[in-house]
């Protein structure tokens, strides 16, 4: 089984430095990309069926095709690596950033070639200190070898790359919130349209891509779109970094063909549930995805199939709920997170999520009333897509609405018994 994204990553936890990266084919894709015209690169990526790995799954080539190209296009243009991995339960981009930073950087360079970007920013969450040190060093190495700066490898093309350490907050991972953060503002979302591809950073065309998405690009350029599609078990191309956390025997991250069934990830790779606990449900791709339960375990973990099962692939890192853990407490923890991280821009979000969190706290502590379950369901509709500028609140609704569906009896039991049945 091919594992292009993680093939170079060292088992001793040390970083792949530029020497090791170059001696295993590193920066050959950049050399190829520098000889292609932007439209050719975009076409290759379109044909590969690469979809964004940050959570939304937007086709990468299609995203790029909205950027104005040619001598008339506004300049400078920007490309941003979204390394603000803050979705609770998600720990996959860290593996790439710490293990093989040049792979991410080369992807960023190829993306820059495709949209004729002049400046690339790496937006890294402030807590990823080790990744920050390794990225800073890798960027420096890339400048020294002439992969960055003016007249890259004699191509006549220029690219500056800057590492930005974030000041915190979940909202920074939201595409337009991130742009505001880079401009030195509060990370509130922006209205779309205009889309960032046309008017992003400082009003100029800007592309924002997730770390894992970027890490795929050198392999697509080197091996071609047909090879990339064959890596996957489904029509969307490539492998995927899957993960599992919670009370499983071997929590971790694994690079597997896109579309690997959830059961295989849970049982073979994560080793199944720990002794003495049983599987009750899971959030398949981070905190802002709907719960799936036992009957869904054979779902292929790709964008379309998980959606058909009633959830989203999201980041592909599963959070497992076991029978010794209170589902109401878990959902309460999730909604407290979303309420706290709401930036306060849209009323349904700041008001609705705080209200939901308060009711969930009451239910969990044995002060709940049956009528609150209808109110919670109402809030999930109140924050539905279209009522807010960004996807934070609609994402917050996902574990809540599905939790109310699959764990209704657990909610009612808390209310009936006026206590959490899991607390001793």
């Amino acid at each position: 089984m091919e594992k292009p994204l993680t093939q170079r990553i060292r088992s001793d936890g040390e970083v792949v430095d530029i020497g090791a990266y170059e001696s295993t084919g590193g920066y050959q894709a950049l050399r190829k990309a520098l000889k292609l015209v932007p439209k050719e690169i975009i076409e290759i990526v379109k044909q590969s069926n690469l979809r964004g790995r940050g959570g939304a799954g937007f086709p990468t080539g299609a995203k790029w095709s909205f950027v104005p190209l040619g001598p008339e296009a506004p300049r400078p243009k920007y490309i941003v690596c979204n390394a603000d991995e803050m979705e609770p339960g998600t720990f996959k981009d860290r593996v790439l950033l710490e293990g093989d930073p040049h792979e991410v950087i080369e992807g960023l360079m190829i993306g820059a070639c495709a949209i004729e970007a002049d400046v690339a920013y790496i937006f890294l969450r402030g807590e990823y200190k080790l990744a920050g040190q390794r990225l800073a060093r890798a960027v420096e190495e890339a400048y020294q070898r002439g992969y960055l700066g003016k007249n890259i490898l004699g191509s006549g093309r220029n690219l500056e790359m800057v590492l930005h350490m974030s000041g915190g907050r979940y909202m920074c991972g939201e595409e337009t919130g991130l742009l505001n953060a880079l401009e030195g503002k509060r990370a509130n979302p922006r209205a779309k349209p205009p889309f960032p591809q046309v008017s992003g950073l400082w009003g100029k065309p800007t592309i924002v891509q997730n770390v894992e998405t970027l890490a795929n690009l050198s392999h697509i350029i080197n091996n071609g779109p047909e090879w990339f599609k064959k890596l996957s078990l489904t029509p969307d191309g490539g492998t995927k970094l899957y993960g599992a956390s919670g009370k499983v025997k071997r929590p971790g991250v694994w690079e597997l063909p896109l579309g690997t069934p959830a059961r295989e990830i849970l049982e073979q790779h994560a080793g199944g549930m720990r002794d003495g606990v049983k599987f009750r449900g899971m959030l398949p791709g981070g905190a802002s995805t709907d719960f799936l339960v036992e009957e869904h375990l054979d779902v292929k973990m790709d964008f379309n199939e998980v959606q058909k099962a009633g959830s989203r692939l999201g980041t592909g890192t599963m959070i497992i709920l076991d029978d010794q853990t209170c589902p109401v407490g878990m959902i309460c923890n999730l909604e407290q997170f979303f309420a706290q991280e709401s930036c306060g821009w849209c009323t349904p979000c700041w008001s609705g999520l705080a209200w939901a969190a308060k009711m969930l706290e009451a239910i969990e502590e044995g002060r709940g009333e049956l009528g609150q379950l209808d109110k919670l369901a109402y809030i999930t509709r109140f924050v539905a897509p279209g009522n807010t500028y960004c996807a934070l609140a609609p994402g917050a609704a996902e574990p809540l609405q599905s939790g109310l569906k699959y764990f209704r009896e657990d909610f009612e039991r808390h209310i009936r018994e006026k206590r959490c049945p899991w607390s001793h």
């Binding site: 803050m86 402030g126 990823y128 350490m165 953060a181 030195g184 956390s245 997170f337 991280e341």
Partner: protein
């Protein structure tokens, strides 16, 4: 007045961005690296240096949780309270830390040694529960391990 070394670091950041305001978060983090937190006085100096109003800059400062607008202890403990750590024993960890240090979340010990803060998912969920102390990640925690770790930070 901004100290020369602080000013120099901020000026280096300015080269990477088209506006002065863009570096304001970096600038506050630079001040914090040198002084531990961002005081009203530092905020005023920075606002002037960056051509922003103090109110606008404070609006940015108070949005970002890694920028401290109040003094913190010599060591800052950030305990992950997000979902995977919650499943794997965050509550037990929180109770242990608050009782051992004798402070609640958001407080600083009387001797100024530790500030205790909650933090969202640290992205190390396969080694939950986790915390950071001064930027060092500590994972797979239990109360005994926490005791040993705290001794390293005097």
């Amino acid at each position: 007045m901004l100290r020369p070394e602080v000013r120099q670091e901020i000026e280096a950041e300015l080269e990477h961005y088209p506006t002065k305001q863009a570096v304001c978060i970096d600038a506050m983090l630079i001040v914090q690296k040198h002084r531990g937190w961002v005081s009203d006085e530092s905020l005023k100096d920075l606002a002037e240096f960056l051509g922003m109003s103090v109110e606008d800059l404070d609006g940015v400062a108070t949005f970002y949780n890694l920028i401290f607008r109040r003094p913190v202890g010599r060591h800052v403990i950030m305990v992950c309270d997000s979902v995977s750590c919650w499943i794997m024993g965050y509550e037990r960890l929180r109770k242990h830390l608050t009782s051992r240090l004798g402070i609640q979340m958001g407080e600083t010990t009387a001797d100024g040694r530790f500030t205790l803060l909650p933090i969202v998912c640290l992205g190390t969920c396969d080694h939950a529960p986790a915390m950071m102390v001064d930027g060092d990640l500590h994972r797979d925690l239990d109360p005994e391990k926490v005791n040993v770790i705290l001794e390293k930070y005097q």
